[in-house]
């Protein structure tokens, strides 16, 4: 089976979970004998040997990222002068150039299935389906409804998602939460959408080493402090202002709880001000953008991990936190909660409940340890292999159905 995979990023040039999911899914599929041709928008060195990686444009990953990534759909717009895709200056232009490349690329190729990941590649996916007549799988890692949090989102991006999801032969959603949004927001029939949860390969994560990036926090922990960790982009989608509201309630009762907010984003200053106004700034630590060792160490230093997202299609960081010795607290609006059972769940707006949970975990070591051990044993049973198996079945069904109709 030959799959044309259309994606916008792969590690190490990823800005978030989208690239990780694309990489891991492709690797697991390749291990099961699927031939993958992965078209990326940028040209960069990779040490990927399990599939073919095709750069669509002679542009570096950094330069492309500066124009905006998949998550920055809010700054995506169409200016007439830049819609010339020969010398693109913005994301829209890059997207058109990517689509043009795929059109040309398919002149002498015939994949069995076209598998496109999220809105930036959906236009190319639709064109590929028109050109080859092959089934299109639209894989939704996040919708514009998720990225815009409690706001309306970008109408241009909504339109792309609407068209692609209707035109796709099959839609893959990374969680039931996401499936519900697609049904409600775009009117796609529920039976056209299959939920395929993201996963993690425990082996990949447990053999990484942890160094002491957070000496201050270690010292404080020795003095009885507990550390609450949150990792991710500081955007409305991630719901951090609710975490800070809850933090106020927590700190007023127990000042020995520290909050490590790892990541960066357009809301950082607003969150800093909020913490200061509430008078709890000394308990909240903003790390700024993290990668590599410091990112991994943030998991390691945590007693508990909180994902307060307003809308989180999946949330791979929750799985990583589960594997690194944290008690895990997830908003009900997070897809990872469909995979992990031994976690505490709250509605993102229910800051009282979140505060109650944080205090309970901080003050009851047996609760912290029970949550930590049980979620860790769930983590140990996860694998991308099972996810790839589901995708393969889906490919096979589409392939068979196509053979029948032809």
């Amino acid at each position: 089976m030959k799959i044309l995979m259309l994606g916008w990023e792969l590690p190490p040039h990823n800005s978030g979970g989208l690239g990780v999911a694309c990489y891991q899914l492709s690797r697991a599929l390749a291990a099961q004998g699927v031939a993958i041709d992965f078209v990326l928008p940028y040209d960069a060195p990779h040490d990927i040997d399990f599939m073919k990686v095709t750069p669509a444009m002679p542009i570096t990953a950094e330069k492309l990222a500066n124009l905006g990534g998949a998550y920055e759909s809010y700054c995506y717009h169409c200016e007439t002068e830049t819609c010339d895709h020969v010398t693109p200056k913005d994301l829209r232009g890059q997207q058109q150039r990517y689509t043009a490349f795929v059109e040309e690329y398919l002149m002498d190729k015939s994949p069995d299935i076209i598998h496109a990941h999220d809105w930036l590649t959906f236009e190319a996916g639709m064109r590929a389906k028109q050109i080859t007549g092959k089934p299109l799988v639209a894989h939704v890692h996040a919708t514009e409804f998720d990225r815009s949090g409690e706001h309306n989102g970008n109408p241009l991006v909504h339109e792309i998602e609407y068209n692609a999801l209707h035109m796709a032969d099959r839609v893959v959603a990374v969680s039931q939460v996401t499936k519900d949004i697609i049904v409600r927001g775009y009117g796609i029939p529920a039976d056209k959408i299959q939920v395929v949860h993201n996963s993690i390969d425990p082996g990949d994560f447990t053999d990484v080493s942890f160094a002491g990036s957070y000496v201050y926090l270690e010292e404080m922990k020795k003095r009885g402090y507990k550390v609450v960790v949150s990792l991710g982009r500081l955007t409305v989608q991630k719901g951090l202002r609710y975490l800070i509201q809850a933090a106020e309630r927590v700190v007023n009762r127990n000042e020995k709880v520290l909050f490590l907010i790892a990541g960066d984003g357009e809301l950082r200053n607003e969150l800093l001000e909020q913490a200061a106004e509430l008078g709890i700034a000394h308990n909240i630590i903003f790390t700024g953008f993290l990668r590599g060792q410091r990112w991994r160490d943030a998991y390691a230093i945590g007693d508990m991990f909180v994902m307060p997202s307003v809308s989180e299609p999946f949330g791979l960081t929750a799985l990583e936190a589960a594997g690194t010795g944290n008690a895990v607290l997830l908003s009900r609006q997070s897809g990872a909660g469909e995979v992990l059972k031994s976690v505490l769940k709250f509605d993102f707006w229910d800051t009282d409940k979140l505060a109650n949970y944080i205090l309970a975990v901080a003050e009851q070591p047996v609760l912290q340890h029970a949550l930590m051990h049980n979620v860790q044993s769930e983590f140990a049973r996860l694998s991308w292999h099972d996810v790839a198996k589901k995708c393969q079945d889906l490919y096979q069904n589409l392939h068979t159905a196509e053979a029948v109709t032809v």
Binding site: K341, S342, V343, L344, A355, N356, Y357, A360, L367, H369
Partner: protein, 411 residues
């Protein structure tokens, strides 16, 4: 009489702890009453539901059977906590239990008032709760229990010895194979290290055919009819004297819904069994009087009727449960010394074993029977609500102690 069926039903409802948060602790001492009637932890709502689905329709049929068949007998245990709830929220269901006992053919079995595990943590508290239950049963039903059952049929040699010296003629527990070895549960036994007390052990295979497997369409014996069940009883070895069918009362109408045909089964079972001459029904006391013990049973380790392990691990198997229950009983002296009756009652209500059962994480990730019975979203939520309530209880006890030392400085 050749053979007796000894039917025993256990009636119980706990006072579930509402979603009591850390922000309630310190000033709101209401742990058990949920302002939202429809909340999962609303005791009143659950009692109404169980009364309508199980207690009232089942008692109606049991009374009809007792009226129609003079040979019919059964035994029941009914906890103090459920009696309180029936008094408050369903006098109709309470009256239907009284009507059954008034026939003189329904034996009430003794236990702890609060359905607690106090026997394993405080003998003093345990005896107090048994006396409280004794008094409650006397006040409500006008009878004096002669047979004892401990919470969840938990049992060991010590308990049997205690029950003997307390004057009970019988005690019951699980007919667990490692204890019985090659022997059948269908006899009367004598607990080791005792003289006068007798032991009846649950025939768990035949009991669970009704209580658990009745509606299981994957079960090879489905559907189970009264005729088939009577045939199984008749096929037993002639020498076996008593078939002990012990189960939760809520089997009828709640665990097995009306739609499964469980009520038809109940109505027809006496008819089918009594068709064969020599078959009859007995209360636990009657079986003890009628049959001589055939052997001694030695139970050095505690057994219960729960889970495949048949031990206390569903209640005190994990660290959260152990901490919760240790903390609870460690307060005993302070609580009792407070003299605050409301505080003492709240503390005792927290001793109901259901609270720690909700914290059980065995098989949690596979979503099983434990989850079915829990009003909480997860075992962790159960633990959090319970510990928050416990914090408040402890604070009340501390304040009471401080009050005492103000009144009597130096003590």
């Amino acid at each position: 009489m050749k053979r007796a069926v000894v039917l025993y039903l256990h009636v119980h409802q706990p006072f579930r702890v509402r979603d009591y948060t850390i922000f309630d602790a310190g000033f709101d001492h209401n742990y058990f009453s949920d302002a939202n009637y429809h909340a999962r932890t609303s005791n009143e709502q659950i009692l109404h539901k169980v009364a309508a689905k199980s207690y009232i329709p089942t008692n109606k049929r049991l009374l009809a059977i007792l009226t129609k068949h003079p040979e019919f007998r059964l035994s029941m245990s009914i906890t103090g906590t459920v009696l309180e709830q029936l008094e408050m929220w369903s006098p109709e269901a309470l009256q239907s239990f009284k009507d059954l006992v008034a026939t003189g053919r329904v034996e009430i079995v003794a236990e702890t008032y609060y359905h607690s595990l106090a026997f394993f943590y405080s003998r003093f508290e345990f005896e107090k709760q048994v006396r409280m239950h004794h008094d409650k049963v006397r006040d409500v039903f006008g009878v004096f229990p002669k047979v004892f059952r401990n919470t969840e049929l938990s049992y060991n040699n010590d308990l049997a010895a205690w029950a003997e010296q307390a004057g009970y003629k019988g005690i019951i527990t699980e007919g667990w194979d490692p204890v019985l070895d090659w022997r059948s549960p269908n006899f009367v036994y004598r607990p080791r290290y005792t003289e006068n007390i007798r032991l009846l052990m649950k025939n768990y295979r035949m009991s669970d055919d009704i209580a658990f497997r009745f509606s299981d369409k994957q079960w090879s014996e489905w559907p189970l009819t009264a005729e088939k069940f009577a045939r199984w009883v008749n096929e037993l070895d002639d020498k076996q004297t008593n078939v002990n069918l012990f189960m939760d009362y809520e089997t009828f109408g709640e665990h097995q819904w009306h739609e499964t045909g469980i009520f038809d089964f109940l109505e027809h079972l006496p008819v089918e069994l009594l068709k064969t001459e020599g078959n009859g029904f007995m209360t636990i006391s009657e079986a003890i009087d009628a049959f001589e013990p055939v052997d001694t049973v030695d139970v050095p380790e505690t057994i219960t009727w729960a889970d495949t392990e048949r031990d206390l691990s569903a209640w005190v198997g994990n660290a959260m449960q152990q901490q919760a229950i240790t903390e609870l009983y460690s307060m005993e002296d302070d609580i009792l010394a407070s003299g605050d009756r409301q505080l003492i009652d709240d503390w005792r209500r927290l001793q109901t074993s259901d609270h720690v059962y909700y914290m059980c994480t065995k098989y949690f990730t596979d979503g099983d029977v434990h989850a079915y019975f829990s009003p909480y979203e997860s075992p962790y939520d159960g633990f959090i609500a319970f510990c928050n309530a416990l914090k408040d209880v402890r604070l009340r006890a501390i304040k009471a102690r401080e009050g005492r030392s103000e009144r009597w400085p130096g003590r």
